[in-house]
């Protein structure tokens, strides 16, 4: 029999006992719905976790450091006129090169140093970090009070809440880490804070530091002695000049300074480009055995952000080939992913239970149908149906029930997931938490669920179909 005829006959047969077949189909629908609802929640939670991880900046970031301390590294020739260098410096050229690698979003220098701030005349010593504009989207600045930097060169600062408290002289309960920026901190926004720093001036003519007038709390720093034993050019000498810069406080973040963030330990954040333009003398530069005092800035470490955590490994390899050390928290994500596929599997098995029950319903319905339609099967065989035709017909009936049940189930499961999502968000809102989408129905889940339903139904139809095909037409037609 042709496929079209087969399906047509199957559908008309199913419509003959509407109630029983719709109940069976509904059973499949409920089974598929529970599967879809479970998996959509599992996938949704995984996506939520992934979104969180991506925004944390932990898993899509590679920290790059120089290999200077490593000996015997067969580095590529690097044409910046320094044949004596033992390995490649981590400088601006290297940064640009990394930024051009495929799947790299940005490569930003990690600028972090301890310095002194003045607020209303009172000095405070703390760690300050430069922030690239992309940090705006990280969850660290999700609950920011005020706003993020207006531009990457603005003279603005974001304070960590505990630092803000110290500025104001507020003492919070140590056991209450979930302190949010409150009205007191609000008062700081818009105020000015003075950053004291030491500027490095790579001019050979300036041999002595020129203190900027009117800076009593800033003792001038002594320029470090530059080594000239291997014949450094005259540019190797430089001066350090103490300077000050007034910054406007634009925001206050509740980020934990001791958390494992890319900006760990910092309590004041300032725009990265602005801080680079300050040419601050960083402690790392004093440690350099072969300092590069050319006009190209050198960095202690760089943060390379990739498009998504899947690309971390390949980018890491590429950077290693450029001649640098890398570090990432890739393995942690791997374990997390494995954990989530375990959760998905569990939810899938749980959801499949209902489908198994539904499959038994199909076996029952079709097995009853072979008894009921004994005579019909006999007639069909007498007028020319082959065993295969009869088998295929029952198969087709099972498949149609599976298809209709699958579509029904996906719609139902979609609705269930949606309701759970809405309910959870109402709960989250009551708890003053931001709404989250913890439910996702990707197209492959829709297609997969329907295909799975049809497959399960057809497997359920195997036995009844074989039974119908085996039926002896003489026996079937004998009794009246």
């Amino acid at each position: 029999m042709k496929a079209g005829d087969l399906v047509e006959l199957a559908v008309r047969n199913l419509r003959e006992s509407v109630l029983r077949n719709s109940l069976t189909t509904l059973g499949i629908g409920v089974g598929v719905a529970s599967l879809v609802a479970m998996l959509s929640l599992g996938i949704g939670l995984q996506q939520l976790a992934n979104r969180r991880l991506e925004r944390s900046g932990l898993f899509d970031t590679i920290v790059v450091t120089s290999r200077r301390s490593l000996r015997g590294f067969d580095r590529r020739a690097y044409g910046n006129g320094q044949p004596s260098a033992k390995s490649r410096p981590l400088d601006e050229n290297a940064r640009l090169e990394m930024a051009r690698l495929p799947n790299v979003l940005e490569a930003t220098p990690d600028i972090r140093f301890v310095t002194e701030f003045h607020y209303q005349g009172k000095p405070q010593l703390t760690m300050v970090a430069g922030l690239p504009p992309s940090a705006r989207d990280k969850d660290a600045f999700e609950n920011i009070q005020g706003q993020f930097f207006s531009s990457d060169t603005a003279d603005e600062a974001i304070l960590q809440i505990q630092f803000a408290d110290e500025l104001l002289g507020i003492h919070r309960e140590p056991g209450n880490p979930s302190s949010k920026p409150d009205a007191n901190c609000q008062a700081l926004i818009g105020k000015e804070i003075t950053l004291s720093y030491a500027e490095r001036i790579p001019s050979p003519n300036i041999s002595e530091a020129q203190p900027v007038a009117g800076n009593p709390p800033n003792p001038p720093q002594t320029p470090p002695e530059t080594s000239s034993d291997d014949g450094e050019p005259a540019a190797a000498s430089f001066s350090v000049v103490p300077r000050e810069r007034k910054l406007r406080i634009v925001g206050i973040t509740d980020q934990d300074p001791d958390g494992i963030r890319g900006t760990s330990g910092a309590r004041v954040f300032i725009p990265l480009e602005m801080v680079e333009n300050l040419h601050i003398m960083l402690p790392s530069e004093m440690r350099e055995s072969e300092p590069n005092f050319s006009s190209v800035p050198t960095y202690l470490s760089l943060s390379v952000r990739v498009k998504d955590p899947n690309h971390v490994e390949s980018v890491q390899d590429a950077i290693k080939k450029l001649g640098f050390n890398t570090f990432s928290v890739l393995d942690a994500t791997r374990n997390l992913r494995r954990g989530f596929s375990g959760v998905d599997l569990f939810l899938g098995i749980f959801g499949s239970l209902a489908l198994t029950v539904a499959a038994l319903g199909i076996v029952n319905t079709l097995a009853m149908a072979t008894l009921e339609r004994r005579r019909e099967i006999g007639i069909m065989k007498a007028i020319g149906a082959s065993d295969g035709d009869v088998k295929k017909l029952f198969f087709a009936e099972a498949a149609v029930m599976g298809l209709v049940g699958g579509v029904l189930g996906v719609a139902l499961g979609w609705s269930i997931g949606r309701v759970i999502n809405i309910g959870t968000n109402i709960y989250l809102r009551r708890q003053d938490l931001p709404a989250e989408n913890l439910w996702s129905v990707p197209w492959w889940l829709v297609a997969g669920a329907i295909v799975f339903a049809v497959l399960v139904s057809m497997i359920s139809g195997l036995y009844p179909a074989a039974r119908a095909a085996r039926l002896d037409p003489v026996q079937a037609l004998r009794y009246e």
Binding site: M1, K2, D5, R12, I383, G384
Partner: protein
């Protein structure tokens, strides 16, 4: 078996046996029947119930397989055919009419008549035209959209004949086609079978226990008892004569109009 002299629709059985096991006992439903049925003939199988006539018919139809012996239709031995070949044989060479009509109750007449052509994998458009034509030939053209339950017994049997003939078989097997009908309607049905036999020239094997009816239409009467042929005699159908003598009070109806 290959040098069968007769043409399309010729049936021969050779020492045909069909035994059934019922617990300890073996029932010889067909017990060594050898027959030669000429193509295009109208043969009646007569006998009381349990004489083996229906079992013989099932063997001729390829619905059942013999325990021993051979059934040769158009030179091919059904006993040696595969299941698939038997199915094709039933589909294209045999039409069956039953006592219980055996129309599929959930289908309309048109769909019932169309069904054999579905199994024969014919094109849909051709199928519908042929099914309508077959229904019109038996006088049910106007009722093609009805279900069997909405029709009288005679009408159902006419639809069953339309279904049996729609694939133009060379062998028409009728198993007590008048058993569930009153005598008047039964005559109508046999008249229809007779017409089809004359018009299309297929071999007709009629199983019945009504000797009078058989004598009216059959060219040969075969009496069975206990699975064996007891009498095998030629017969001159009386139906022509009755028609020529004019209508009687309970005689056969005038010949049905045949659409061409």
């Amino acid at each position: 078996m290959t040098n069968d002299p007769t043409g399309s629709g010729a049936v021969r059985t050779e020492a045909l046996q069909r035994h059934f096991r019922m617990g300890e006992a073996t029932i010889c439903a067909v017990d060594g029947i050898s027959l030669d049925l000429a193509a295009g003939g109208f043969v009646a199988l007569l006998g009381s119930s349990g004489s083996g006539k229906s079992s013989l018919l099932n063997l001729l139809a390829g619905l059942d397989r013999p325990t021993a012996g051979a059934v040769i239709v158009d030179g091919r031995n059904l006993a040696e055919m595969s299941g698939e070949e038997l199915c094709r044989y039933r589909r294209h060479r045999v039409g069956m009419v039953f006592q219980a009509f055996n129309l599929i109750p959930t289908m309309t007449l048109l769909e019932n008549v169309e069904l054999p052509m579905r199994f024969a994998e014919m094109q849909r458009s051709g199928r519908l035209a042929l099914a309508r034509e077959a229904l019109e030939r038996v006088g049910l053209g106007a009722r093609h959209a009805h279900r069997p339950s909405q029709l009288s017994g005679g009408e159902q049997q006419r639809a069953a004949i339309a279904r049996a003939l729609v694939n133009r078989p060379s062998l028409l097997l009728a198993d007590e086609p008048t058993g569930n009908l009153d005598s008047h309607t039964g005559s109508e049905i046999l008249e229809l079978l007779h017409e089809s036999n004359e018009q299309f020239g297929m071999t007709v094997v009629l199983v019945t226990h009504e000797q009078a009816l058989a004598e009216r239409y059959a060219q040969r009467l075969i009496f069975l008892a206990d699975g064996k042929v007891v009498v095998d005699q030629p017969n001159v159908p009386t139906s022509r004569r009755t028609v020529e003598r004019g209508p009687q009070s309970e005689g056969p109806v005038p010949p049905r109009k045949v659409t061409s």
